[in-house]
């Protein structure tokens, strides 16, 4: 599965990356790797507003977000 690496990027870049991927795919599954709670929360809000399912899995100091539609 494709993993977008948004680690180390400040807002709003992780959300912009996710938004682009959502618009590019239309539907399907992809993952985003982030390293801040802010990015996790912001992407979660975006996914919900776009009606994508999202789950966050902690990995050490990072979070692997899986988005599905």
């Amino acid at each position: 599965m494709e993993v977008k690496d948004a680690r180390g990027l400040l807002c709003p870049e992780p959300v912009l990356i996710t938004k682009k991927e959502i618009e590019r795919l239309g539907k399907g599954t992809f993952q985003v790797l982030v390293d801040t709670v802010a990015a996790r929360d912001n992407i979660t809000r975006l996914a919900k507003s776009k009606k994508w399912e999202i789950s966050a899995q902690p990995r050490g100091d990072e979070f692997l977000l899986t988005l599905k539609k």
Partner: protein, 362 residues
């Protein structure tokens, strides 16, 4: 939904604290202003010699310590750095010039609007224009690049610096400046200001309150979350100002403000533009620095340096208006930030298909 409630409550508490701090001695319409208070702190340290704006503001110290402690407690503290650090310093420098030509950060701008200062409405229009220009760059792929994990101790120096400032504020050694007149001489008691800062820091860390981010997220994603916080500040401060009788609608004679519309607009536009490229307003930079981001810590140093230059070279505005030097500095600021914008488009290519095991670093 719960998050929206928290940020609205935060906004209301911030507004009440700002009004209370003014009642207890802070300058009018300046209960809390990150730009003004960093400027006063720079003055307190003698980095500039404008005798009327020299005071190490405990609100800033409290804010940083509150945000730091909260981030450690919630395990959000991350020692990060290395994302165009010096570029951020330069952006911070010119953001401060813009804000001091307007006379306030986005937070004070809202407090000024709530007290009837229509110059701040002009500032808001400028701020929105600045954020929109910033968004054009973001949409074209502007990025200052990735921050990478640093030695864990790296993020501790910023809160330690604030503890040092607190010692200087309390010990009052001869080489620390305390204004005896002007806005710098007006302040709430240290303990109360420090406590208000702490509460603000905790709330700002939890909610990520930021007006620049609010406008940006609304324009790009239609997300109102951060704007709710500022709406709450506006409404609460407006009701408070009316109740306290400190509401005076108009352009002229507003406290610590000038009525030069063009430069109120351009100053705030510069601040908004630079802050959008930085990822947040001065408040957000302080909170992010407290959470261990050393790029944001350097941005705060850029803000401090900008404040020092603004007053040493007569760039900052005053109630009398904006100086010619200040106008030139704003125009130079636009040129520099536009250059930064163009030079950092597609600064980072997002790596595709990284192994999900997640290797550290870049």
């Amino acid at each position: 939904m719960k998050r929206n409630v928290l940020i609205v409550i935060t906004g209301a508490i911030v507004a009440v604290m700002a009004l209370a701090l003014v009642k207890l001695g802070n300058p009018q319409n300046m209960g809390i202003c990150i730009a003004c208070f960093l400027r006063d702190t720079a003055g307190g340290l003698g980095l500039h010699r404008a005798a009327v704006v020299q005071y190490i503001r405990p609100e800033i110290i409290g804010l940083v310590l509150g945000a730091f402690i909260t981030s450690v407690f919630t395990k959000e503290y991350r020692s990060l750095g290395g994302s165009s650090t010096f570029t951020r310093f330069v952006l911070g420098f010119f953001v401060m010039i813009g804000l001091l030509v307007f006379l306030g950060c986005p937070l004070r701008m809202i407090l000024r609007i709530a007290a009837g200062d229509l110059n701040a409405v002009v500032g808001l229009v400028g701020l929105i224009a600045g954020v929109l220009i910033g968004i054009v760059f973001l949409r074209r792929g502007f990025s200052l690049g990735r921050a990478v994990p640093q030695n864990k101790s790296g993020g501790y120096f910023f809160p330690l610096l604030m503890l040092g400032l607190l010692v200087l504020l309390l010990a009052k050694p001869a080489y620390i400046f305390f204004s005896t007149e002007g806005p710098g001489s007006m302040h709430a008691p240290v303990a109360i200001a420090l406590a208000a800062g702490l509460i603000f820091g905790i709330l700002a860390q939890r909610t990520r309150l930021c007006l620049i981010g609010g406008i940006r997220d609304f324009v790009i994603f239609g997300d109102l979350y951060l704007l709710y916080g500022f709406l709450a500040i506006l409404v609460t401060a407006l009701v408070g100002s009316l109740a306290l009788g400190s509401f005076h609608l108009g352009l002229q004679g507003q406290p610590i403000a000038h009525s030069d519309g063009l430069w109120n607009f351009l100053g705030m536009a510069l601040g908004g533009f630079g802050s959008t490229l930085l990822g947040g307003c001065p408040l957000r930079q302080l909170v992010s620095a407290s959470e261990g981001n050393s790029d944001s810590a350097v941005t705060v140093l850029g803000l401090l340096a900008g404040a020092a230059f603004a007053h040493n070279f007569g760039l900052a505005a005053s109630a009398k208006g904006v100086t010619a030097a200040g106008q030139i500095a704003v125009l130079i600021g636009f040129a520099v930030i536009i250059l930064v914008g163009f030079l950092n488009i597609k600064g980072v290519s997002v790596r595709q298909g990284v192994s999900a095991s997640g290797s550290q670093g870049c």
